[in-house]
């Protein structure tokens, strides 16, 4: 009997899971259908570079179809809803897809409309986001002509995709304005709802001092209530205000819209409740989740999605075979943090271990939590890796799905050695 696996979303997670599963099964055993509302696959890590003229939009987009192996059917149509009780997906054109296993890979959606005033007067004129291609492109134009005043970079609230990206934006803005010779006439202010630069203590301290070094002012525990684009200020729920001449805002995120229309599928933010180690959803045993769509205590980032891929495929197979699932995913995340002037930091962590110093993936490797040119090259090289290894669902040499420990300065390991 042929089993039908339906994958919602042909982004990073949907594509790599489809390709991996296709390689593992014959067409007679498993039929794979992928659904996406549009035909263009965007290399999202590239968006950060667009505002500074370091990347161009047309180079970041490729056809989704070309990223999928033969024997995978791609339907270009929006999802109306998922009927968990009937094991079927209802599409926007009223067609239905019955599935044996469903993989939800529809990522996170920006919801700028949820913040008062954000898409009001001034939006895309003096208030921008670089989290969309249109926004990043428009911002490139605005930054090229910004010669004096206060640039405010604001994260409205967590969770967001790639939590380090807004910090990288500050670092690159410092570099960009210096190169243009206008840095001394521009103030850069980072406004965050967190109580520090980042969520994890060691990295937060490191990134906090880097911001300070680069002359970036930090406003913490600021919960943006209103963005007043016409007046040029952010207003916090607690009454504090931050004035700006140019604002770069990372809007609120939620899961995909159809999740809200699908009974019992998502939580209050439309993310799917998911087992953090098996990546099976908590809503139905035959529903699995990969990437930003999952409501997990992990970063919403491509590296997380990549590391989850192997576990999702393994557990989909086990589910189809009636075998016990594996607790394979450890929360592994790995991010290059661009710090400007051709350098970058690298952080590597999981659910239990915060980002530490050392080297990745072994004692000889890329330096962790330390600025280096090598890491910057690693970040640039990643674009090739993304299209040619990651999306096809191939393993990246030396990089497994669980967090490597050998190159890290682990305090605990030290004590274990002594004992």
């Amino acid at each position: 009997m042929t089993e039908h696996i339906v994958i919602l979303g042909a982004g990073t997670g949907g594509t790599l899971v489809a390709n991996r599963l296709r390689r593992l099964h014959t067409d007679e055993d498993v039929r794979i259908t992928v659904v996406d509302q549009d035909g263009e696959h965007l290399y999202q890590p590239g968006l950060l570079f667009v505002p500074f003229g370091l990347a161009h939009g047309d180079k970041l987009v490729r056809p989704r179809q070309d990223q999928l192996h033969r024997g995978i059917e791609l339907l270009q149509v929006a999802v109306e809803r998922v009927d968990l009780a009937d094991n079927r997906v209802v599409l926007a054109d009223q067609r239905t897809l019955a599935y044996d296993v469903l993989v939800v890979a529809t990522g996170a959606t920006l919801v700028p409309g949820e913040t008062d005033g954000l898409v009001g007067p001034g939006w895309m004129e003096r208030v921008f986001t670089f989290y969309t291609l249109a926004g990043a492109t428009a911002l490139a134009d605005a930054l090229a002509h910004f010669d004096e005043g206060r640039l405010v970079v604001n994260v409205v609230d967590m969770p967001i995709k790639c939590p380090v990206a807004p910090l990288e934006f500050c670092f690159l803005a410092d570099w960009f304005f210096q190169r243009r010779g206008v840095r001394d006439r521009i103030q850069i202010t980072y406004v965050t709802p967190l109580d520090g630069a980042f969520t994890k203590p060691v990295a937060s301290k490191m990134l906090g001092s880097l911001l300070k070094e680069k002359g970036v002012e930090v406003v913490t525990e600021f919960n943006t209530g209103t963005v007043d684009g016409a007046g040029g200020h952010l207003v916090g729920y607690d009454g504090r205000t931050v004035d700006f001449d140019l604002a770069v805002v990372v809007p609120l995120h939620g899961g995909a819209d159809y999740v809200a229309r699908s009974p019992s599928l998502g939580d209050e933010l439309n993310f799917i409740p998911t087992n953090e180690h098996t990546l099976q959803s908590r809503v139905r045993p035959n529903v699995f989740v990969i990437g930003d769509a999952a409501g997990l205590p992990a970063s919403k980032a491509g590296s997380v999605t990549h590391f989850e891929g192997e576990v999702v495929c393994d557990n989909v197979d086990r589910f189809l075979a009636g075998a016990e699932l594996v607790d394979g995913y450890d929360g592994h995340a790995n991010c290059f943090i661009e710090t400007g002037f051709g350098k970058a930091l690298l952080i590597d962590f999981n659910y239990d271990t915060e980002p530490l110093s050392g080297h990745f993936p072994y004692r000889i490797g890329l330096p962790l939590l330390e600025e280096s040119r090598l890491n910057h090259l690693g970040k640039l090289m990643f674009e090739w890796v993304y299209w040619h290894l990651l999306l096809p669902g191939r393993d990246i040499p030396g990089v497994g799905s669980t967090m490597p420990r050998s190159g890290k300065r682990l305090v605990k390991t030290h004590q274990e050695v002594k004992a």
């Binding site: 967590m158 969770p159 969520t199 919960n223 729920y237 607690d238 209050e268 933010l269 205590p297 992990a298």
Partner: protein, 111 residues
């Protein structure tokens, strides 16, 4: 009196409880509703209204169901109290303050 900066333990309603350096309960099961007025006073809330109680009990239920307290945004969507009013009730930050009063750990929403 509660010195949230120093105390590894505090005495509330005659009972000793363990808190961290930020004043969050380390063992939520040590919490009792009788501690709420004292906890609220320590946060500068002298007048505990029904609306405060609604939020505190909601936080507690969410924690018991999900293992973590809700963020402000989720509170605004699900508690029946708008974000604006949440800030009127708990001016120093609803998610953290209400979590401390409800005796649950710091909300984990931010990753």
């Amino acid at each position: 009196m509660i010195d949230t900066m120093m105390a590894p333990t505090v005495t509330l309603a005659g009972l000793t409880v363990d808190v961290n350096e930020e004043g969050f309960f380390l063992q939520p099961e040590q919490w009792a509703e009788t501690m709420v007025p004292e906890l609220a006073r320590a946060e500068g809330i002298a007048d505990l209204t029904d609306r405060h109680w609604q939020v505190i009990r909601f936080m507690r239920r969410q924690f018991e169901e999900k293992g973590t307290g809700p963020t402000v945004r989720v509170l605004g969507k699900t508690s029946g109290v708008s974000i604006k009013e949440l800030y009127q009730l708990f001016p120093k930050g609803p998610a953290k303050v209400a979590a401390r009063i409800a005796g649950i750990p710091k909300p984990r929403g931010c990753i």
